[in-house]
């Protein structure tokens, strides 16, 4: 028998040692204090289905962000026209992404074009045939930018809300063009977390239209420039109170610097907010101008309160009360501090796993791994005797290296992932079965043991390669198209297949060669 090159057993020992180092932190649930920092310290993360938690897929309604931009554009256009002293009849939002301006009979439309195009480079100017109406549409490029910003900003805002809520190791990531994936492991109160994450939290201050007729508005005749909104709590028999408000937002939540929970003398919680310098100035000016009028505090189009302004308020502080529970007030403060979402988000997929179910899954997964694995090992040992135990060694090494690879990639172990690992044990003996059957065949046609081994390995290799590649193809497709748990399964299966090529073909051969090295072999234990 030829001499086995030294690098081969060295490589095997190296891969075993490396694997053990990578697995240790996961088995030990962390690294001990003497563990040097240059050694691997990553832990195989448990999927939400194993440790319990909340999985949310949110859809960012970016259209609303575009709409809001168009809404802001209306104010901007009005400002510009006023400044340039151009005469017009009306300016209003036109569809999702445009503003239309109705001109007067003697307006000078070329001048409109000249000024608006100069002042608002992000819009496209067009006019209808009569020349009496012009339209400013937000450029597609700009719209794309708004949508992208809405998504990025939403992710940031949600992250800061989640951080303040206090969840360990949350995952918040972009998914596709308009989705956000949120995973909160080990969470105990999903309902509260959902309310915290999903709320737009657009805080607006609007003046109450004291002269308007609320009853007429409620029956459908809303005065122009006004809007009817409702309160947040039922009050007595009448249901939720309604308010007739001026549509224009006089002050908004983006000028906040802080929001805190406080308690009234009757121990009722409220949220006190502090404005920044600009907000402080604006707030003082507003309250000074509107003494004895009511100012409504509106959060996500719901009126929380509409107190009467008694006097000009300096110092930039206001409070939101609305008969909250302490928990609600606490969460509201978090949301206001983290800021509003640039566009509303909608939950499109949710998976919650309670912690006890997760533990049950782990127990059952481990049980099936141990039993299934033991059955396979036993069968191989009995059926192929000495060679069977060689294959068993390869299978165990495969499992070891698979776990190390998962830890290295910081992959997440899910229930289907465990199933994949179990299935892989069954499939990874396939390569060895192919080789051993081949060796048996060669022995039957009268080859010497060493020649039989040589032929068995070389002939089976092409088959093993082809069959592994085809299975790998489905693994990769599964990864590409799968989500969540299915991906976990695909990852385990694919990595395991690659490792199986190494352990089942290379490792068993080297070990076999080393055992037979220098011996005169007459029979094989196969």
């Amino acid at each position: 028998m030829r001499q086995v090159p030294l690098w081969k057993p060295a490589l095997i020992i190296f891969s075993v040692v490396i694997s053990l180092f990578y697995i240790f932190p996961s088995i030990n649930h962390g690294t001990p204090s003497w563990w040097p920092s240059w050694l691997p310290n990553r832990i195989i993360a448990q999927g939400l289905d194993l440790q319990g938690g909340l999985y949310l897929l949110l859809n960012v309604e970016a259209d609303k962000a575009v709409e809001q931009t168009a809404e802001n554009l209306v104010d901007e256009v009005r400002g510009i026209l006023r400044k340039e002293q151009l005469r017009y009849q009306t300016v209003e939002r036109d569809g999702l992404d445009a503003v239309s301006i109705q001109l007067t009979d003697n307006s000078d439309s070329p001048k409109f074009r000249q000024i608006l195009e100069k002042e608002l480079p992000a819009t496209l100017f067009s006019e209808d045939i009569s020349g009496k109406k012009v339209r400013l549409a937000i450029k597609p490029q700009e719209q794309k930018e708004i949508r992208r910003f809405a998504l990025d900003q939403s992710i940031q805002t949600i992250r800061s809300r989640v951080d303040q809520f206090g969840v360990t190791e949350p995952t918040i990531q972009k998914q596709g063009e308009d989705r956000i994936l949120v995973q909160l492991p080990g969470l105990t109160d999903p309902t509260r977390a959902k309310a915290l994450i999903g709320r737009t939290a657009r805080l607006e201050f609007k003046m109450v239209d004291e002269k308007g007729d609320l009853n007429a508005a409620l029956s459908g005749r809303v005065p122009p420039g006004d809007v009817v909104l409702y309160g947040n709590r039922e009050s007595g028999q009448k249901g939720r109170p309604s308010y007739l408000l001026k549509k224009r937002t006089v002050l908004s939540g983006d000028l906040l610097t802080d929001a805190r929970v406080n308690f009234t003398q009757y121990n009722e919680p409220y949220v006190s907010i502090t404005f920044n310098r600009q907000g402080e100035r604006k707030f003082a000016q507003l309250t000074g101008e509107h003494v004895n009028e009511r100012m409504a505090i509106v959060l996500d189009n719901v009126v929380y309160s509409a107190p009467v302004i008694r006097e000009k308020i300096e110092g930039g502080r206001a409070q939101i009360s609305g008969s909250f529970t302490t928990e609600e007030a606490h969460d509201l403060a978090i949301i206001l501090r983290a800021g509003a979402l640039p566009a509303p988000v909608k939950i499109v997929e949710e998976r919650t796993v309670g912690p006890t179910l997760g533990q049950d899954s782990i127990d059952q997964g481990l049980a099936s791994i141990l039993i299934g694995g033991a059955l396979v090992l036993l069968f191989m040992g009995v059926y192929y005797k000495g060679f069977g135990w060689l294959a068993n060694m390869a299978v165990l090494l495969n499992v070891l290296m698979l776990m190390a690879a998962l830890a290295m990639m910081q992959a997440t172990l899910t229930m289907p992932g465990i199933a994949g690992a179990v299935l892989l044990m069954g499939m990874s003996v396939d390569a060895n079965v192919l080789i051993f059957e081949r060796i048996r065949e060669e022995l039957r046609v009268g080859k010497t043991p060493l020649a039989a081994i040589e032929h068995g390995y070389s002939r089976a290799f092409a088959t093993i390669l082809d069959s592994h590649i085809t299975t790998l193809i489905t693994g990769l497709v599964l990864y590409q198209f799968g989500t969540g748990p299915v991906r976990g399964f695909a990852v385990t299966l694919s990595i395991g297949l690659v490792i199986s090529m190494y352990t089942a073909v290379f490792v068993t051969r080297v070990v076999l060669d080393m055992i037979l090295q220098g011996r005169h072999v007459k029979t094989l234990s196969v």
Partner: protein, 316 residues
């Protein structure tokens, strides 16, 4: 120890076994398609959209009381069943018209309304799954694409490594396995979930793996004995790999039985689909894939006994 001695010379490719194989597979495929056509799949909420809530009570609840309590929420079609143990129930609710925000708050509402039903008011929320209708239909689409792309990739790979007729044989046997597995889920009206879909894709992986092993042997035999007709070559290849085929299927089946018995209910359907698929995949490698390769071998039709001129060696 040997289960199968090398000297097996079963005739897998004689006209009789071909007729048997094709009528058996044809019948199963037809019945599966019929079931899929008539009653369809019992799509889980992953695909149809809706909410699934798993609850555990301190003591076994009366399902009637649960049903009555839940009827106050007017949720439309509600399915309530025991899950695993008498203390646990699984509630499935279809798409709600009230919008996805209301639907995602549903689980909390259910727990609230079921507290009076439970002894000592103890209800534990074990699992909630909510899939919006849009995501559900996206998952259906991406699931179909996944099946399609893996079949396409395998077709091309096999055509490249072997020949086109081998590729056709492989693909038809895969389609056969997928249709019958799905047919079984349709026939028994077991819930077809994302995880079961993953199992179907894994079946494709396993079945092709098994087919390739036989094909590889066919390729090897043909190089060694060029004068032999295709039928004889294929038959010898099947016989030569029979021992390996059975042993590998056996080990995988052993593992799957462990999963079925001890893996818990969440993984049960996954293991079941795989179990069926592995058995089918093993069968179809021999009785579908190889037979189709033989049918497509024009120079050497059905009967391998007739000494005809050597078949063309390469087509593509």
């Amino acid at each position: 120890m040997e289960l199968i001695h090398n000297k097996t010379r079963f005739d897998f490719v004689c006209t009789r076994s071909q007729i048997l194989a094709f009528s058996f597979s044809g019948l199963l495929t037809l019945l599966s398609l019929l079931s899929l056509w008539v009653q369809g799949l019992n799509l889980g909420i992953d695909f149809s959209g809706g909410t699934l809530v798993q609850l555990r009570f301190a003591k076994p609840p009366h399902l009637d009381q649960v049903r009555t309590a839940l009827s106050h929420l007017s949720l439309g079609d509600v399915s309530i069943q025991e899950f695993g143990s008498p203390e646990e129930i699984l509630i499935r609710v279809g798409k709600q018209s009230s919008g996805s925000d209301a639907q995602s708050a549903l689980a909390a509402k259910m727990v609230e309304i079921l507290k009076p039903v439970a002894s000592e008011g103890k209800v534990e929320l074990r699992r909630v799954e909510f899939v919006g209708p849009q995501v559900g239909s996206e998952l259906v689409v991406s699931g179909l694409w996944a099946v399609f792309y893996s079949l396409l990739a395998i077709l091309l790979f096999v055509a490249w490594r072997f020949e086109w007729r081998f590729a056709y044989g492989a693909i038809l046997s895969l389609i056969h396995d997928v249709i019958i597995t799905m047919g079984l889920f349709s026939f028994t009206q077991k819930e077809f979930t994302l995880v079961v879909l993953a199992a179907v894709l894994t079946i494709i992986g396993y079945s092709i793996n098994d087919t390739i092993v036989v094909f590889d042997r066919v390729r090897e035999e043909r190089i060694r004995s060029k004068k032999q007709p295709m039928g004889v070559v294929i038959n010898r290849a099947i016989n030569d790999t029979l021992s390996r085929t059975i042993i590998v299927s056996l080990t995988v089946v052993l593992v799957l039985i462990a999963l079925l018995l001890f893996g818990g209910l969440v993984i049960h359907d996954f293991a079941l689909a795989l179990f069926v698929g592995v058995v089918l995949g093993t069968y179809s490698s021999i009785f579908v894939a190889c037979q189709i390769v033989l049918l497509l071998d024009k120079k050497e039709p059905v009967a391998p006994e007739q000494p005809t001129p050597a078949p063309s060696v390469e087509i593509s």
